[in-house]
Symmetry: C2
Subunit: 370 residues, 2 copies
Amino acid sequence: MRSVAETRRGRPTMNDVAATAGVALKTVSRVVNDEPGVNAATAERVRQAIELLGYRRNDGARVLRRGRTASIGLIIEDVADPFYSGLSRAVEDVALRNGSLVFTGSSGEDPQRERALVLAFCARRVDGLVIVPAGYDHGYLAPELAAGIRAVFADRPTGPTPETDHPTGPAFDIDRPTGPTAEADRHTGPAVEVDTVLCDNAGGAATGVAHLIAHGHRRIAFLGDQAAIFTAQERLRGYRQALEAAGLPYDPSLVSMGVPEQSRVSAAVADALALGDPPTALFTGNGQLTVAALRSLPTPRPAIVGFDDFELADLLDPAITVVAQDPIGLGRTAAELLFRRLAGENGPVEHIQLPTHLIPRGSGELPPPA
Amino acid sequence: MRSVAETRRGRPTMNDVAATAGVALKTVSRVVNDEPGVNAATAERVRQAIELLGYRRNDGARVLRRGRTASIGLIIEDVADPFYSGLSRAVEDVALRNGSLVFTGSSGEDPQRERALVLAFCARRVDGLVIVPAGYDHGYLAPELAAGIRAVFADRPTGPTPETDHPTGPAFDIDRPTGPTAEADRHTGPAVEVDTVLCDNAGGAATGVAHLIAHGHRRIAFLGDQAAIFTAQERLRGYRQALEAAGLPYDPSLVSMGVPEQSRVSAAVADALALGDPPTALFTGNGQLTVAALRSLPTPRPAIVGFDDFELADLLDPAITVVAQDPIGLGRTAAELLFRRLAGENGPVEHIQLPTHLIPRGSGELPPPA
DNA sequence: GTGAAAGCGCTAACAG
DNA sequence: CTGTTAGCGCTTTCAC
C-alpha cells in the first residue's frame, strides 16, 4: 500500500486518506458519509487528512455500489427557447430541492437525437427523466422503464399521433413533410405508459379564437407549428372547435402549419392576406410564430391573439393579447411527479392537465375593419 | 454464476449477457464497444442476447474504470434568462459534437450555490467545467484543478473584484449591499488561474454612451446591475470613459446600480427624472434592465441605449438601439476552449475577449428635447 | 468503535 | 479470435 497520495497520479482516494490518517478505509467512509459510531478524535484526524490531500468523494464509484445516482435527465426541444428555459429552471429547482443533479439535452425536434440523449442519460443511470418528446414512438424506453428508470412526459404525450384524427386539409402554405419529426417514427415499438403533464392546448386555443369571434371576426387565420407536433395539432383542434361552436365554417385556406421560421411565416401571412376574402384576424399557435407574424404583418396590424405569453407583449402597440400557459408550472409539476415516483409512489399512471388563461391586452380586441 | 438475467433484480449486466450468449464477459465487452477481433457469428449471438435481455452498458462503471466521464458541468446564473439560455445551448452543442454530456446548474447569483454545484459536478467527476461565476473567490476550485478537472470561465472572470478601482460614489438609488454576492466572498482562498472568455463590456458600454453623446445628449443616466457583478462594473467603467472622452463631467447622481427588479428600476428611473437637472438619455446595463426601464419610462420615451440585444427590440416604437453581445459566441468559444484543453492542449492560460457591436434602431438616435 | 473482505459493472493487460 | 485475472473507488456485511 502506498503511503501518501503524492505517489499516485490523479485524485486521492479513500485509501489514500486512510493511509494518511492511519485508519482503515471503512473509517474514512464513515466520516465522509457522516455515519455514526466514530470516535471524535479519530474523525478529526480523518478530516485533517481529507483537507490535506484535497480529497473529494468519487460519487461515480459510490453510485456503482449503491444503485441510485441522484441525478435526473431533462430532454427538451431547445434550451434557448424561453418556453423551455422556464421549464428547465423549474425542473432544476425541484431537482436541487430533492438533492438531485440535472443532465440537460436539447432534441431540436429530432426524434433520433431525443432517443440518443435519453439512452445516453440512461447509460449514465439517471434515476429518472423529464422528457418533452420530439417523436411519438417511445418503444425504446421500455427496457429502461422495466429496469426501474422513471419517466414523466411534459408538454407533449407519447403514443399514437392524433394527427390522422384531425386532417388539416390543404393549407395556404404547404407544410414541409421533410421535417425530422415526420420520418420513421410511428408505432415501431411497444407503446409505453407513462405519467404525462400537459397544458390545455385545445381549450386554450378555443378560448383565444372565441375571443376574436366575440369581437366580431368571422374569418380568422390560423398559423400553427409543424403538423407533426402534438401541441400544434391540439391547438388547431381548439381553433376548429371554436369555429364550430360559433357556427362558422372551417376554411382550410386560412390554415397554415409549418416550421416557425420567419421566411415561412412571412410567406404564409402574405398568402393569407392576398386571398380574395382575406382574414380579418390571426390566431398564432405559439410564441415564436406570434413574433414572426408580428414582423410580417402590415401596420396597422389586424387583430391577433397568440398562444404563449412572451416578454414585451405588453409593450407593443397595441399590446398583444395572448393565451398564456405556464412553463414553470409545467416543469415543476412534472419534476415533482417524477420525484414522488422515485420516492416510491406507485399509483396508476397520471395524466395531468394544466389550465391556460387569456390575457386581453389590446391586439385581440380590435374590431374587423369597417 | 447465475444463468439468466431473470434471476437478478435490476438491470442485466455484461455477465448476464455473456451467460446468455454462452461467451466470456470480455467478448461481450468487445461487441458492446465495437472493438475489432470478434467472429461475426459470435458477435451476432452476443447482439441477440443483448436485445433479448434489454441490456444497456452501465457508463458509470465504465467511467470508474477508464477515468474520463465524457461529461462536463455548466454553471450559469439562470437558465431562464435568454442570455444564458443562448449560451447554454451553444455549450451543449459543442459538448454533443465532442461526445460529451452536460450537467447544468443555475447559481442564481449566489456564490454558495455556485460552489455547491461545482463541487457536486466535480464529485461526479465531470471532465471539465464552463462556469459563469457568481462570486469572485474560487479558491475552492484549486484541488479540483490540481486533480485535472479543467475549467473555463465565461462572461465573467475570477479573482479580485475591480470594484474598488471604480468607486461608484453616491447613487440616485442606493445599491442593496445585502445581495448574496456581497458577503464573505473576497480572497479567502488561493487565487486560481483559469482560461476566461469575456466580452468587451467596457468598450461596448463606451460605444453606446458615445453614441448618445454624438446625438447631442450631455446628461445621460446609467442604470446598472448590482455593483458586485463584474460586468456591471465594467460597463459603468465604459460609461465613465465615454463621458471623459467627450469632456463631460461624471455625476454620481445619474448612476444607479442594483438588482434588475422592476420595482427598483421604476424607482431609480423616477428618481432620475425628478432631479433638478434631469437626464435627457438613459443607458441601461443589461437586457433585463432595459426592459424594466422601458416599462417605467413615460411616453414619449427619452433616448435610450441598452446593453444586450433582446427579442422584439426591433418591434417597439421607436425600436431600441442596443449594444449587442453574442451569448452564443461566448458559449461556443468557452466550450471549444474547454474541449481543446481536454484534448491535451496545454498552452498558457488564455483570456479571450469577444467584441460587441452597436445596433442603431431609433431609440438611441433621438435628440434631447429642444 | 473499528476493520477486513467481498463485490457493484466494467475495462486493461495479458494469456491462450 | 477468445478467455482469465485484476482492480477502478466506493459501500456493504460481518467479524473483532
